[in-house]
């Protein structure tokens, strides 16, 4: 029994790491930036942390801090040009950014290990550490959501002109969202590095981008619960489908289509909407 749990522990670890990355994606979307750069920031954080440990032999805490800071730095740097762009243009620019990071990574073999990846990273992060960081990230997102920043992000996402006319600085808030996103991605990338023994450049490419985006879309992009739930479903579901091996990708694809079409706001947001509508209806009935 404990064997079975232990066997699925890597899956739980994966969940904790991906929750962090999902929040990184969530926060920029929430602030109205269609950035997909989380995968790149995670790669930057992971490789920084990895290199700190492997090449410099530094303490993991320092590596994690460095990963967080470089992730954040890269995000702030990227936010400057991105502020000039809108919507899908931002999406494509960030995808280009990911491509650039990827090919530079493969190219600078002496530092990053190139196509071979960065190996022999000491494993210093376990489930406990991951859990603590994932919990902290969840709390921070929840706090943001309830306060001033959450309201400002909401306004910017829905209508920039309105937000600006109400005194909300769009550049400042979007840069802030970016910094948070980059820091979260860098941190969880670093955790990944110290948890996985090895890094591979392609790990932080298009596939990760899609995976993370799917978490947020599936779960919902307006409440903190969304990424938590979306991530859980998308990590558990392929496991359940494993016996169907060959058809796993078909099932995954069909699920994406069905969910986005029938539960477009994501599972959590839709559920919350339904609850709210019911409350309104009940109130209306008691009035009339």
């Amino acid at each position: 029994m404990s064997g079975i749990i232990a066997g699925y522990l890597p899956l739980f670890d994966l969940y904790l790491i991906h929750v962090g990355l999902a929040f990184s994606q969530y926060i920029v979307l929430r602030a109205g930036v269609f950035s997909l750069a989380t995968a790149a920031f995670a790669g930057i954080g992971a490789y920084t942390a990895g290199i700190f440990a492997v090449n410099l032999g530094l303490h993991p805490a320092i590596g994690l801090l460095a990963g967080t800071l470089t992730g954040m730095g890269a995000a702030i740097f990227l936010s400057i040009p991105l502020a000039r762009l809108r919507g899908v243009y931002q999406a494509i620019a960030t995808v280009a950014f990911i491509q650039i990071c990827l090919s530079l990574n493969v190219y600078s073999e002496s530092l990053t290990g190139g196509a071979m990846g960065l190996n022999n990273i000491p494993k210093t992060v376990g489930t406990g550490t991951l859990f603590v960081f994932a919990a902290l990230a969840t709390y921070m997102i929840w706090a943001i959501e309830r306060g001033r920043l959450g309201r400002a992000f909401n306004a910017i996402r829905q209508d920039e002109a309105v937000a600006a006319s109400l005194g909300i600085s769009i550049t400042r808030h979007q840069m802030l969202a970016f910094a948070i996103s980059g820091a979260l991605a860098g941190l969880f990338g670093g955790l990944e590095a110290y948890h996985a023994y090895a890094l591979d450049p392609n790990q932080f490419g298009f596939h990760l981008l899609i995976t993370i985006l799917s978490y947020v879309i599936l779960g919902g992009r307006n409440t903190v619960l969304g990424p938590l739930v979306g991530c859980a479903i998308l990590i558990i579901l392929p496991e359940l489908a494993r016996p169907l091996a060959e058809n796993r990708m078909v099932i995954y694809g069909v699920m994406l289509i069905v969910v986005i079409n029938y539960v477009p706001k994501g599972i959590v947001d839709t559920a919350l909407d339904a609850i709210r509508a019911r409350r309104l209806k009940m109130r209306e009935e008691t009035v009339s």
Binding site: G3, Y8, G114, G117, A196, Y197, A198, M249
Partner: protein, 339 residues
């Protein structure tokens, strides 16, 4: 990995293993043990490979893991396997994977061993220069390129081009023009067979000289290269680890494989077949109590095991590096011959 990037290896590999397993079971040749084989797909993904190995070791109580395929995957899973004390038998080419610890075994000879004869053969043909093309997002190909490059430069052959491509590339018109404009005496391509064929076809269409020396890697010894390249790839030199017509046992294997899966076996099918046989041999030799430790020892002790690859015998040396013996082959009129 039966899906995604390394599917081209994974699929025939698993087929080869299944064929071997069926044959062994039919002959009741597991040394009296009841062997259960679980196939899992890591989708050419490192993290997935780690998760799977952990799960196999901890909840499925496996005694040996066959796989993963790529060096990059094996580099990642190696330390995990060593931590869990479970033998891991991978197809990774780089000897670096063995450094993780005594539980790691690899099925392929190192590039230095099997590519060297090809390099030396090229040198013996006395080209004055050579153009190299390799895949840059896979360590194995880079290593093969390095071996050839070092041998050629060592022998004073000028390298007029050293280009890299991605495993997903298909359009080589620009590359071809570049190759042709360098007028090389020799063109070495290390890439999966279809891609290698493609590069050569496109280079020919761009005007590559008919008597340019062509050379490739072990993949060039597969039927796929002939199917894909037709007459364009005629004359290519390659290292052979598996030639269907090499011996009676390899002929028998080829026929059985073709009967089962409807196509001729390639290098990887033969590798899978060989790996399963090696594991079965180790199980037979592990004694009554088959466990991870006894299996590891039995694996390491493998000597002169008859196989369908190379010169027909597989042994591990004290560093667990396998040797089967490779030879240079040449493709002539759609047939593999000794040059």
């Amino acid at each position: 990995s039966t899906t995604s990037t390394y599917a081209f290896v994974g699929e025939p590999l698993v087929n080869g293993m299944k064929l071997a397993a069926d044959e062994i079971s039919a002959a009741d040749n597991w040394g009296g043990h009841n062997v259960e084989i679980i196939y899992q797909d890591n989708r050419s993904d490192k993290q997935e490979a780690i998760a799977l190995i952990t799960r196999m070791a901890q909840s499925e109580n496996a005694d040996i893991v066959v796989g993963p395929i790529a060096t990059s995957e094996a580099m990642a899973t190696g330390p995990v396997a060593v931590d869990l004390k479970i033998p891991m038998f991978t197809t990774a080419t780089s000897p670096a994977v063995l450094e993780a610890g005594p539980y790691i075994f690899k099925s392929t000879e190192t590039a230095d061993a099997y590519m060297a004869p090809v390099g030396e053969h090229i040198v013996s043909l006395k080209p004055s220069n050579c153009f190299l093309v390799s895949i840059r997002d896979n360590e194995g190909y880079i290593r093969q390129r390095n071996v050839i490059r070092d041998i050629l430069t060592g022998a004073g052959v000028e390298i007029v081009g050293d280009e890299s491509i991605l495993a997903a590339d298909t359009d080589f018109t620009a590359l071809s023009t570049k190759i042709v404009s360098n007028e090389p005496d020799c063109l070495f391509v290390t890439a999966p067979p279809e891609q290698a064929a493609n590069i050569i076809i496109q280079a020919r269409q761009a005007g590559l000289d008919g008597d340019t020396i062509l050379a490739g890697d072990s993949g060039a010894g597969s039927q796929k290269l002939i199917d894909a390249g037709g007459s364009a790839v005629d004359g290519i030199l390659f290292p052979a680890s598996f030639v269907a017509s090499a011996s009676d046992s390899s002929k028998a294997f080829s026929e059985a494989y073709e009967a089962e899966f409807g196509k001729a076996p390639d290098l990887w099918a033969a590798t899978g077949y060989t790996m399963m046989n090696t594991v079965a041999n180790a199980i037979r030799n592990a004694g009554d109590d088959v466990n991870r430790e006894s299996l590891r020892e039995a694996m390491a002790a493998t000597k002169d095991l008859p196989v369908v690859m190379g010169q027909g015998m597989l042994s591990f040396d004290e560093n667990r590096i396998p040797s089967m013996g490779g030879i240079v082959m040449k493709l002539e009129d759609g047939k593999w011959v000794k040059p």
